[in-house]
């Protein structure tokens, strides 16, 4: 029993089609609410964690422990004028932040979330090829960033967009190869290794243990995907002011900001799903979602620590690293995965 079927049962007095349409509608609303809560939580967590690491207190004025600070900031951003630069390409400039945000929500829709006590399965999309779908969805966000960079007619923005392209090209190949290794490993246990739910469920031992190299490559690629330090060359604040989002203000900027934090959470969740067993846990399988959240938050904190302590890498060195180190390493990892799959049958 998952959320969708429950909703459909709830609307069953109406006709079959209407019930399912309503069920999907409500599920999408739940999803957007979930993503919003995640974003608010992430930004609050980041600000508090950053403050404590830097010997400060962080937001503590609006609401208890500053919990309402994000509401205040959101209101402030929404109330601000969204300045449109003079030489912009109008339509791409306006839709670029939306593309980033939609890509984020879509990616969240594809992830499997596991069970949660009385609600049952929280997974939204049931597809045989959800791995491919997921990586297609997270590839949407860079399009928005590149559009933003090119359409705002700002030299910093164009440089940021160019850097973003160079970065994406150099890390996505190793990332995909390390995912292929996972699919190979999973294919020994399940008939549908491209289905994310099956891929996650087939981890009796988390894939991260035999696939340490893959985990490392994937984690690095995910940092680059979410583009925070050390791989934030695209919007490096001390070099390119703010990269592709230089010309944005108000709520449009807010969407890029949310996209950044959303993709940190998304990437941590993907690492925990693919490599750390996801919603598999030692005790009751009812608490799968809780296990997933715990693993994700730990990974998020590690990601924040990386962000706060490591300087930015230079773009040429990163491209070098992608092609000269990550790619060969991920191919070696693929071979190891093949040997394990054939020989050990893990």
């Amino acid at each position: 029993m998952d959320v969708l079927t429950r909703l459909a049962h709830f609307f069953a007095p109406l006709t079959h089609y209407v019930a399912y349409i309503l069920a999907y509608l409500f599920e999408s609303i739940f999803l957007v609410i979930f993503v919003t809560i995640v974003l608010v939580f992430m930004i609050y967590l980041f600000r508090k964690y950053m403050a404590r690491v830097q010997l400060r207190i962080g937001p503590n004025r609006v609401g208890k422990f500053g919990l309402l600070q994000l509401m205040a900031d959101g209101l402030k951003l929404a109330g601000k004028e969204s300045i449109l630069p003079k030489g912009r390409d109008d339509l791409p400039f306006r839709i670029a932040p939306l593309i980033v945000f939609i890509g984020l929500v879509m990616s969240f829709a594809i992830l499997p979330y596991g069970d949660f006590y009385w609600i049952g399965s929280l997974t939204i999309t049931h597809s045989n090829v959800s791995v491919i779908l997921l990586f297609a969805a997270i590839a949407i966000m860079p399009i928005g960033e590149i559009l933003a960079g090119v359409s705002s007619r700002n030299k910093y923005a164009i440089l940021g967009a160019l850097r973003g392209v160079a970065k994406d090209v150099s890390f996505e190949v190793p990332m995909m190869i390390s995912v292929i290794a996972l699919v190979m490993m999973a294919s020994a246990r399940t008939s549908e290794p491209l289905n994310l739910s099956d891929l996650v469920s087939s981890q009796i031992i988390p894939f991260g243990i035999p696939e340490v190299i893959g985990l490392l490559v994937f984690f690095i690629s995910m940092i680059a995907r979410a583009s925070y330090s050390p791989f934030d060359m695209g919007e490096s604040d001390s070099e390119l002011v703010s990269g592709h989002s230089t010309e944005y203000s108000g709520m449009r900027f807010g969407m890029f900001y949310m996209g950044l934090f959303g993709s940190i959470f998304l990437s941590s969740m993907m690492v925990s799903l693919l490599y750390l067993g996801g919603y598999n846990g030692p005790f009751s399988s009812d608490a799968g979602f809780v296990y997933l959240l715990i693993k994700t938050v730990v990974l998020v904190l590690i990601a924040f620590t990386v962000w706060l302590s490591v300087p930015r890498i230079r773009i040429d060195r990163f491209v070098n690293m992608g092609w000269k180190y990550l790619l060969p390493i991920s191919i070696i990892n693929l071979i190891i995965a093949g040997i394990i799959t054939l020989g050990v049958g893990l």
């Binding site: 010997l55 050390p230 490096s236 002011v241 300087p311 040429d316």
Partner: protein
Amino acid sequence: MIQEEQKNEHREWTELNMGPQHPSTHGVLRLKVKLDGETVKEVEPIIGYLHRNAEKICELDYYCDSLIYFDRMDYVAAMNMEVGYLEAAEKLLNIPPPERAQWIRVIMAELGRIAAHLVWAGAFGLDLGMLSPFFYCFVQREKILRIFTEICGSRQETNYMSIGGVYQDINENIIYMIEEFTKEFPDKLEEIFNAFVKNDIFMSRNKGIGILEPDVAIQYAVTGPMLRASGIEYDVRKAEPYLVYDKLNFDIPVSYKKDNLARFLVRFEEMRQSVRIVKQAIKKIPDGPYFNPKAKKSLMIRLRGEGEVYARTESPKGEFGVYLVGDGGVKPYRVRVRSPSLRNLSVIRHLGKDVLIADLIAISGTIDLVFGEVDR
């Protein structure tokens, strides 16, 4: 139109304006950069956005009043600026400070040097994208500023020294505070140092980048840590000792690697040496008056000076020189300040050729710019 473009041989170069409002230009530096893709082909620094013409203001004021304008030149190391001005003014006015005042000044100058280098280290980390070490640097700096507040009542723009000595004597409590600071600071400094140099990416961003050859450095009149990182062992404190630096035991750090990392290491070693100086000075500080009675406080606007004096001191940024010309009146006839940052900045035209944008930022970070002093 198209023909015109073809005539222009560098038509593919992008012109980019960095600053004056840019996150990593340390105030109001404006760099006109010509880019070929990501590579910087030409840099032209444009300065003057913080220009107040302090030299003219000093001409219009009494000798004792000019001090506060020197405070505001290198505003992160106000004590060193005061030492620099008073070296010149006291020679011109023939009012040497008593022994105790000289020792106090040495302690203050070295504490100021540590504070200035800490600000630089934190800001340099920010330039490279390290968010946290900035705060650890500033926490330590705040302890120094607390000592300054305890001594003279102001945090940054101290106005502590005056012609003929210092305004207020230091007492037991302050000596205790400074001793405590020198005890616990070296460990914290090592921690900050490790937070930087253990990082592989930090090392790769700095090693072999921005190499400044010694002959170029001399051509551009570069001084201070930048010159020493290029392998020239030169420090005004040793070459032309002022105050009581000749009675103190300390080393001048030199590096022969000439790159960004060398400048980074030299500055950190300087901080360690400054702690060493403070530790010695606080023990040796003699009793006696802290103010020369010749410069009576009620008569301080009546001081007259004649002649020409040039005094050099070693400020955190480099050789800080003050050239005072007096015509026998109560106000100086001409004040000329040799600001080290200005000369150090001019070398960016040489260093910023054929480097990446990211490296240009790193190089301008190691120059250690404070715009109050560059523009004056």
